[in-house]
Structure formats: C-alpha cells, structure tokens
C-alpha cells in the first residue's frame, strides 16, 4: 500500500518535474554553458573559449559603464517607487469621497502595455512639441525647452517613466497590508499621546516591514533586469548610449553584434549579481526582521 502510494506520488509529480527541468533548469544551464563559447547568435559556428568571455568583459569599459547605468537606474527607481507608492497607499487608505475611483485609476499605469506607455511619454516629453515642456515654460519653471530625450536628461526621463509605470505595484501591496493593521494599535498610540508622525513611525512602518521587505526584493530583481521600458525609449537612438543598462547591453551583444556567447556571459553575470545581492539582503534584514 505504502509502495504503491509512493509510486503514485512519483507519477503525479513527474509532469511538473519535467516542466520545471525543460522550462527553468535547461535554459539556465544552457545559458551558462553558452557563456564558455564563442558563438554566432544564429549560425552554428561555435568554439569553446573557457573563461575568455568573462575575462574580456572584466576589461571592457562598456560593460562597467552598463553595470553603473543599470545599478543607478534600478536603485533610483526602487527608492522612488517605494516613496511614491507608500505615500499614495497611505492617502488611499484614508476615507474620502471618490476613494474607490481613485484606487482604480492609480492602477492604470501598471495595466497599460509598456509599448503604449512609452509612445505616450515620448510625445509628452518631446522637446519641440511636448506637453511637459509647454507646461513647464508656461508656469515659468524653465526658460528654454528641456531635451528630455537627449544625453543630459534621458536617464531622468527613464526614471520618471519607470516610477510612473511601476509604483502601483507598491501601492497595491502596501495598501493591502495597511487595511489589515488593527485600529486598536493606533488608538493605543493616541492614548499614549503619539502624533500622526509618531504613529506612522512607530505603528505603521513596523507593521509594513514584512511587506516592504518582499516588495523591495521583487522590485529590485525586476528593475535590475528591466529591458522593455529601457530599450523602447530609444530603440538604439543616439541617447541610447546613456541608458545602456546591462540587459540592453546583453541584448545588443546577442542580437546586434550576433555574439551569443558574450550575451550569455552578461546574462550569467547579471544572474550572479542578483544572487549575491539577494543573499546579502536576506542576511542583513532577515535576522533583524525575524522573517
């Protein structure tokens, strides 16, 4: 009886194991394997080069620049998403007329397809005919139109667009948690004479710790590997050089230089960076938070 139920268990999990191996394990291992080869992206020419791709990238200034741009972009957008998302969630947790409609509207940026959002923003930020410059000029904040898609402001534009697009995820997660904080905690704090700020620091934030821990982790992974928003903004245009993050650089190496080996090496390096930073993040906070 025991043996047959064990057998049945194995039979039942076999399809799942097969799918995980085929869709997760094999592509990752293939990517790692490819990183040791010099391989054309589409033709069957390939040659084993050992660690040469890794050594090449370590000496490549473009790689270091991409790593810097990628880190700058992901850290800035995560910080801003958390700040904006938290503020929005706190506001949306309060009772006011039309709150349900506003809660729905806040989610729009997250639901709009990235390609549509980028086209929309590119027109809004157009330096000659865009609405943003028009408004900034009209209210006297700037004297001359800003080149939002030019070298000096392209990273700012990318950060603004990314924060706009992804902060609703933070709102959603934080708001869900805010609604479950027992009101009695706030009442007790009030009785103890805590003001609004004190209540936020000593009641709300500690209650949000766990959810913020997960949100920061997920958003960090997603922003560090973000490709579509970054690529679509310039699509290889002149200012692309100034937002060439690691995923974009990996794409270029694979599909524009046709160097699949180097592209895979970059993907493996990104994977390694994420594993290392996630481990550090867990070690630093998990013990403290008791998660």
């Amino acid at each position: 009886m025991k043996a047959s139920s064990q057998k049945m268990g194995i039979i039942l999990i076999t399809p799942s194991v097969f799918l995980i191996c085929a869709l997760l394990v094999y592509p990752v291992l293939y990517g790692v394997w490819l990183s040791f080869f010099k391989k054309h992206s589409f033709f069957p020419d390939q040659r084993f080069v050992g660690l040469a791709n890794y050594l090449y990238l370590l000496k490549d200034s473009e790689f270091w620049m991409s790593l810097w741009y990628g880190t700058y972009y992901s850290v800035s957008t995560i910080v801003l998403q958390i700040v904006v998302g938290l503020i929005a969630a706190l506001i949306l947790n309060e009772a006011f007329r039309g709150r349900n409609i506003v809660r729905g509207v806040v989610l729009f940026p997250y639901m709009i397809p990235t390609v549509v959002a980028i086209i929309l923003w590119k027109w809004l930020l157009n330096n000659q005919f865009g609405l943003v410059n028009y408004l900034l000029l009209a209210v006297g904040i700037i004297d001359d139109p800003l080149s939002w898609m030019g070298k000096d402001h392209i990273m700012t534009s990318l950060i603004i667009i990314s924060v706009w697009e992804f902060f609703p995820f933070v709102v959603l997660s934080v708001l869900a948690r805010l609604q479950t904080i027992p009101p009695v905690l706030y009442e007790a704090a009030k009785v103890d004479g805590a003001g609004a700020w004190s209540r936020f620091i000593h009641v709300t934030l500690p209650q949000l710790r766990n959810v913020l821990f997960v949100v920061i982790l997920l958003r960090s992974i997603w922003m560090f590997t973000k490709f579509d928003t970054v690529w679509l903004l310039t699509q290889g245009g002149g200012a692309e050089k100034y937002i060439r993050t690691l995923p974009v650089f990996a794409y270029m190496r694979t599909f524009m230089y046709y160097q699949a080996g180097l592209g895979s090496t970059l993907a493996v390096i990104m994977f390694g960076i994420l594993i290392a930073s996630t481990t550090i993040y867990f070690k630093m906070f998990r013990r403290e938070e008791g998660i």
Binding site: G237, G238, K241, Y257
Partner: protein, 451 residues
C-alpha cells in the same frame, strides 16, 4: 435515435466536413511567405492588391505578405534562418544580402531578371544584388538621401547650393534664426536623426564625400585616418546649429522639425518626406517653393558629393518551401501595371528599377512626380552618376569583400564615436582610437581580420 443523439451526429458530421474541406484546401494551396519593409498603409494596400490579382491567376498559390518595421527585419530573418524555416521572399539591407550570400543562404533570382530583361534594369540597381554571374538580390525600388532645405528662407538670405562642408556650415549658421528677436533661436540651421542607422548612413556618406574609406583591403578599420578626423571635426562644428537634444530625435521627428518650422535644413532627408510635408506642413508651404533639395557638399579631402541609396533588395532564401512559386510572384510584381501601383504609393522615394516604367507616360504623369520633380531630378543625378552607395558601402566591391558591415552597423560603434565627440566633448583623436579598437575586436571576432 433520440434528439440529443441526432444533434451530436449533425454537429460531428459538420466538424468532419469542415476539417476535410480545410485540410484539402490547405493541402492543395502552396503558401509563400513574403516579408517587406513598406509599412505605410498605401504600400501595404498596393501589395495586398498585387497579391489578390496574383492569387486569382494562380489559385493553387497563397501569398502571405507581411509588412515589418526596418528595425525588426534583420533579427527576424536571422531567427527564421536559424530555425530552418525562412520565408520565401524578404526585403533586407544590401549589406544583409551581401552577408547572407557570402554564407550561401540565398537562392538566385536570375529567372526574374531574365523575365524583366536584364537590359531593362538600371545599371546602378544591378550592382546591389549581382554576385558573379548570378543575382541574389533584386532591388524593389531605389531612393537616395537628400539635403532638403527651406528655399524661402535660403533665398531671403541669398544662400546658394553648398559645394563644400565649409559652405554648408556657413548656410547652417545663416539659417539659424531668431525670428522674434528675443535672443533665443526659433529655427535651427539643420536637423539630423540621432538613430544608430542614420548616424551610420551619415558617416558612410561623409567618408565617401571626403575621399576616404572605412576599411582597407585587409578589413582593418580606418577610423583613425585623417579623413575620419576631418569628418568628426566637421560634425563637432555642424552640431552647434542643430536643435538641442538632436541625438534623441528619430527620423520622423527630424521631418517634424522641418514641416513644423523648427529647422531649415535636413541632411538625412528622403523622398518619402514629400508625403509627410504634404500631410503636415501648412497648405501654402507644401511645394518646392518652400521645401527644395540641394546636391550634397563634399569634404576638404574629397572632390565629389556623396549620398546614400535606400534600395533594399528582394532576397529568396535557401531552404524555403516554394522557391518556384516565389519566382512567379516576383515576375508578376515587376510587371509594369503592378509595379506602377506599388511605386505610386511613395512616388518621390520609390525610383522604379525598370527603365520601361521610369520612361512610361503613366509614371511620368503621376501628379506627385510632376509636383516634386526637382527632388527626383537630384536623385536621378546621384543614381546616374554613381554618387550613391548603400549604407557603409564606399566602393561597390565592398558588397562582396566586406560581409561584416551588417555587424558594424548593428554594433553602434560609429554612433558612439559621433556621440562622444559631439555630446561629450571627447577629442576626435581619442574617440577614433576607441572606435578603432572596438571595430578591430569585432572584425577579429567574426574571423575577417587579415592584418
């Protein structure tokens, strides 16, 4: 038989009938896949009409025509080839055609050329797809890059067609205008796209116009040459008259700068821009009294002007399922009546590759062709005097001897070099050193280095 069973039987029979019918129809019709880069609605409609007529003549063939954006095409072709399921026909950059032909991935189109009549094709066109005695590419239509300018503004300032880069700088300075005298520029002297493709096109043109080469016979890049230094110094100066943020402007935005009266000259214009001007410029300005073209100038070390020719060839891929049927489709496409319908969708950019059509009354009488004749005359001058070459091609022999140009274009090495000089104030010599090193590495990696 109860009612439920009867219904089941009827539905089952219907499904079986549809399956048999569909299966038979698919089995009988040969499907040819055709990828082209003319995404504008008029060209797509013309292609669809040609396909309809072809299918009526050949009920056993189905043509699946798909319009793809330039940027998507090369990657899609490569992926299809790698997957072993290429389309029958596709447009592509001339340098892509050269690269694929060198790898033995294309089938000849000699039968199509024979059907059209080799003498009926312009000599310039033949140079794009002919390798040895065979045609592995056949251009669908040709259009050259143009230096478009605001004629009204230039005439007011007494400016003439610039012969040299120095003249162009002078014109750009004169055409940078503060219309309302508030101390701010309202119209910039020139507009160029910052896209990777257009920067590559520009550098290819400027190299030709300055009497230089991009790669020597051993495939070694020549980016540190005197010619390239002069080009970068010229661009450093020229970009002072460009709208701020020009590096973020795409091709259509540069046209918006022109018809939106924000720029007075456009260096990388094309004939298809005439249609944009007709659509978006103020009505009274949609003519050659306001928007005309100059012949491009040459550099200090050059003697002749140079422009780029946008002439994507049709290619047929080895391993496709129905090459014979694809040949029949191309023969049909180039028949004067069908071809005219296609050409008329973008008449100022699509120069017919056949002499018979270019000389025909039906073509000459096209209203837009009569209206923008000056633009066509300049293109004809470039084409007939061999002043134009495809992107990054300096000499026609580059088409067969330099199959790595596609990778150079994709890599963005040249664009980065231009950006470093014009946007980051890196001295030209330092920027060329870096680009040279990157290009040498790439060519070595591809196995073409002979130095």
């Amino acid at each position: 038989m109860n009612r439920k069973k009867r219904y089941k039987l009827i539905i089952g029979s219907m499904c079986l009938f549809v399956l048999i019918l569909g299966g038979t129809s698919l089995a009988e019709r040969k499907v040819i896949n055709v990828w082209h880069t003319e995404t504008n609605p008029l060209s797509r409609k013309a292609v669809a009409n040609i396909v309809d007529r072809f299918e009526k003549l050949h009920p056993d063939i189905k043509v699946e025509a798909e319009a793809l954006a330039w940027g998507d095409l090369e990657g899609k072709i490569m992926a299809a080839l790698a997957a072993g399921s290429p389309p029958e026909l596709s447009h592509g950059q001339p340098i892509t055609c050269a690269a694929l032909q060198a790898k033995g991935l294309l089938l000849p189109l000699d039968d199509v050329v024979k059907h059209i009549g080799e003498d009926n094709i312009w000599d310039q066109i033949k140079k794009v797809g002919k390798y040895g005695d065979h045609y592995f590419g056949l251009v669908h239509a040709a259009g050259t890059s143009l230096l478009i300018y605001r004629k009204d503004l230039a005439e007011k300032r007494g400016l003439k067609n610039p012969k040299t880069w120095k003249d162009l700088l002078h014109n750009a300075k004169e055409l940078t205008i503060d219309t309302n005298k508030d101390g701010k520029t309202d119209i910039y002297g020139l507009t160029i796209p910052g896209d990777n493709l257009f920067i590559n096109i520009l550098l290819g043109e400027l190299t030709k116009a300055n009497g230089g080469i991009l790669f020597d016979d051993k495939n070694r890049p020549q980016f540190t040459s005197k010619c390239m230094i002069e080009i970068l110094e010229f661009l450093e100066e020229l970009t002072k008259y460009l709208p701020p943020g020009w590096e973020g402007h795409g091709y259509r935005e540069t046209f918006a700068n022109m018809y939106g009266a924000k720029a007075a000259m456009m260096y990388q214009g094309y004939g298809r821009g005439a249609s944009l001007i007709e659509q978006y410029a103020p009505k009274h300005m949609t003519n050659t009294d306001y928007f005309d073209v100059w012949i491009k100038p040459h550099g200090p070390s050059g003697t002749k002007p140079a422009a780029q020719v946008d002439e994507e060839p049709w290619m047929m891929f080895k391993g496709c399922k129905h090459p014979k049927e694809a040949i029949e489709f191309l023969k049909f496409f180039y028949q004067d009546d069908n071809y005219l319908e296609y050409i008329q969708t973008v008449p100022i950019h699509f120069f017919p590759v056949t002499k018979s059509l270019r000389r025909s009354t039906a073509y000459q009488e096209t209203p837009m062709i009569k209206k923008w004749k000056g633009w066509l005359d300049v293109q004809e001058h470039y084409l007939d005097n061999d002043l134009v070459k495809p992107t990054l091609v300096i000499d026609w022999k580059d088409m067969t001897t330099k199959p790595y140009l596609m990778e150079i274009l994709g890599s963005g090495i040249l664009k980065d070099m231009v950006m470093e000089v014009t946007k980051e104030n890196v001295p030209p010599r330092k920027a060329t050193d870096k680009a040279q090193k990157r290009a040498e590495e790439l060519i070595k990696d591809k196995g073409y280095a002979k130095w």
